[in-house]
Amino acid sequence: MILEQHGLNGLSRRRFLTGVGAAVAAGSLAPAAFARPAHASAHGAALLGGPLPKPIAATVPSGVPVAPFDIIHWLLPGPEGSATPLLGLPGFGLDVDPSTVTDFHGFTAYAVVAGGGVGSDGNAYDVEFDIRVMSGEFVAEDGGTHEGTFGFL
């Protein structure tokens, strides 16, 4: 979930990602700073706890302002020619897998919701929230088939 302070010309996520992509292409320090930072990985593993699902094989295509492309196992279903309200990320089309988990069979709900809200600092924020739930059976890293409900949040 992304919050941007309302009314400020801040660095949007889209712009930031574009910048990261450019840095990666130039072979700067950005990949080490970006790719699966150790703290994030450890945190994520702790959150999952149970059998570990696997990511979809597909990654973000080049040209989309989310980079580095080859490690982001995430797709953005949405009508071609459309864009998310706050970040301006383009819809990849409708025959696009909304799941972030592979070897999965179940029910998936997906949305990009947007709107506003207020922080405890008294400021108004714009919000964009890509939210997905995948609930069903999956083949985990351990090779076993399990039941689970996962959120992309």
């Binding site: 979930m1 992304i2 990261v20 994030a40 696997k54 597909a58 819809g91 897998d97 070897d103």
Partner: protein
Amino acid sequence: MPAEQVHDYNPGILQNGLFWTIALPEGSFTVGHRGRSARLQVTGLPMTNTFVFANNFSVASALDVDVTWNAIGPRIRRGFGTTVPPDDFGAFQGRFAEATCAGTVRSAHTGFSFDSGVLDASGFFAEMGEERNGVFMT
């Protein structure tokens, strides 16, 4: 006053590449009306606030979510199954209905909290349905 203020709440990226995906508590996600409505209700979900995307600096945060989907169209076959390479966007088989989606979120970490108004998907897209990918494709 900083030039910009951004908060980015996410559960992190796992070593195997699983991106921002977290196990949800049992009972937090319910599906009704033969798959034409769904609701996610969860409180205190542990997250990190990385402030900007892919920042190495983060703080522990918690997220409350109450979001409801309602199908507004017929279920349509989606995806190309095994007729495309496994890393293709369409490497899945699904039957999805376009949907509305609306709800609220609350986030908090030490020194800051945020309460949304009603957020909705009218500005982009929402869908819901059944799918299979990977080894479950037929």
